[in-house]
């Protein structure tokens, strides 16, 4: 019953959220989950105390080919924005 999927987790600036969701729509990705977070990376500390320094974590469960397409679609953002994309294996149970 469990199906092998990929979990793509996108850590990025909060202002990027609508642009990332627009990519989901373009690629036909329906399901995703967003949560607010803060952090530090090569773009410095993002303390989350106002919108311009907030991060979001966006999680998407999808199959391998879709995760490849998603990753490709996100690459242009990497140049100008704080962004980290990681992928791992999950079983989706329902």
């Amino acid at each position: 019953m469990a199906k092998a999927f990929k979990l793509v987790t996108i850590y990025c600036e909060a202002v990027l959220e609508p642009l990332v969701v627009r990519e989901f729509d373009r690629l036909g990705i329906v399901g995703y989950t967003v949560s607010d977070c803060r952090g530090r990376g090569t773009h410095g500390v993002r303390s989350g105390n106002w919108r311009m320094s907030s991060n979001v974590r966006i999680e998407v469960m999808c199959d391998l080919p879709m995760s490849d397409r998603l990753m490709e679609a996100l690459e242009p953002f990497d140049r100008d924005y704080g962004l980290l994309v990681v992928r791992s294996d999950v079983e989706v149970l329902n």
């Binding site: 600036e13 202002v15 642009l19 607010d36 410095g44 500390v45 303390s47 989350g48 105390n49 106002w50 919108r51 311009m52 320094s53 907030s54 100008d80 924005y81």
Partner: protein, 325 residues
């Protein structure tokens, strides 16, 4: 004292931030306070507007707007050629300084009230008007810069490449314009009588909540100052001199429009102030190549406190000196 004691809350926040205190104002409270300030200012302006002939504001608005656009137009080449910044950064910073700061305006109003200087609530109409055009101008400057750098074949093509629809949406339905204009209209419809029952929240609590917002601004500014230090003296100088230039344009415009000394101070403050709510978000999306640390560092880390502690008193002095009483 030369400034209103309310600005001490900003210093307290700054101190807390710089000393790495565990004081943190939750992001939800920051959001709520900024929504409150925008609505409250809009409402008050709308109520006052309902007592004045709207027609008279039309001509003066056009002039205030046109004069205000000089600020990014002056700022851009200075940043680009004197400061040797990339044309993205120059355009983004110019846009921040062409736009306005709601909190700086509010502190100026509070100071005028404390000193018993007459001024008009409808000045908030200019606040609403000035917030956005400079942002559009900033995007245009960035794209024309692209064109000149050979990344597009011509200026016209560069302009065509702007997502005008998305930009217009950002401009008119961005929360700051929506709340300001929405507040203006509700205040206008409600009038003095409809305003009265909500005045305990939107009028009497205003200055106290502004104090809390300034505390938070101090915390945010502290984190910006650190990030900003590495960008050298030019930008610090710009962040201090540009407001003085802008304020002078404001005083001249006010004199031409025969404003009172109080209104002239407010117009000078609007011109001199730099945005940190609408501009950073809009520029981050529309000109992503610009480094936000530069623009926010300059506007929030230098110009905002400069205006609070030094600028507003200077603009009052300018108004007293150059505007007939």
């Amino acid at each position: 004292m030369v400034f209103d004691p309310i600005v001490l809350f900003f210093l307290l926040g700054l101190l807390a931030g710089l000393s790495k205190s565990d004081l943190k104002i939750p992001a939800a409270i920051y959001e709520a306070l900024s929504i409150y300030l925008l609505l409250a200012i809009g409402l008050k302006g709308g109520v006052e507007l309902s007592k004045y002939p709207l027609g008279e504001l039309v001509t003066s608005s056009a002039i205030v707007l046109a004069a205000g656009m000089l600020i990014p137009i002056i700022g851009y080449p200075v940043l680009r050629f004197l400061g040797k910044l990339s044309h993205y950064d120059a355009a983004s910073i110019a846009a921040h300084y062409g736009s306005v700061s709601v909190v700086t305006y509010s502190v100026a109003v509070a100071t005028l009230i404390e000193r018993d200087w007459a001024h008009d609530g409808y000045m908030v109409v200019y606040l609403a008007l000035l917030e956005m055009p400079a942002l559009i101008l900033g995007v245009v400057l960035a794209r024309l810069g692209d064109a000149r750098d050979g990344q597009a074949s011509a200026g016209l093509a560069a302009l065509r490449s702007i997502h005008w629809g998305r930009l217009a949406h950002e401009v008119f339905f961005g929360k700051s314009i929506l709340l300001l204009i929405g507040g203006l209209i509700i205040g206008f419809i409600a009038g003095e009588k409809g305003y009265e029952p909500i005045a305990p929240v939107f009028k009497e609590a205003f200055k106290g909540l502004l104090a809390l917002f300034l505390l938070e601004m101090g915390l945010v500014a502290a984190s910006r100052i650190a990030a900003f230090r590495s960008y050298g003296a030019f930008l610090v100088g710009f962040a201090i001199v540009m407001p003085l230039v802008s304020a002078s344009i404001g005083i001249l415009t006010a004199r031409y429009l025969e404003f009172s000394q109080g209104n002239a101070t407010l117009l000078a403050t609007l011109y001199a102030s730099a945005s940190y709510i609408a501009a950073p978000a809009a520029m981050r999306i529309a000109v992503p190549q610009a480094n936000p640390a530069l623009s926010i560092g300059a506007s929030l880390g230098v110009t905002f406190p400069f205006n609070l502690f030094v600028g507003i008193p200077i603009y009052m002095w300018m108004a007293r000196t150059f505007i007939p009483g």
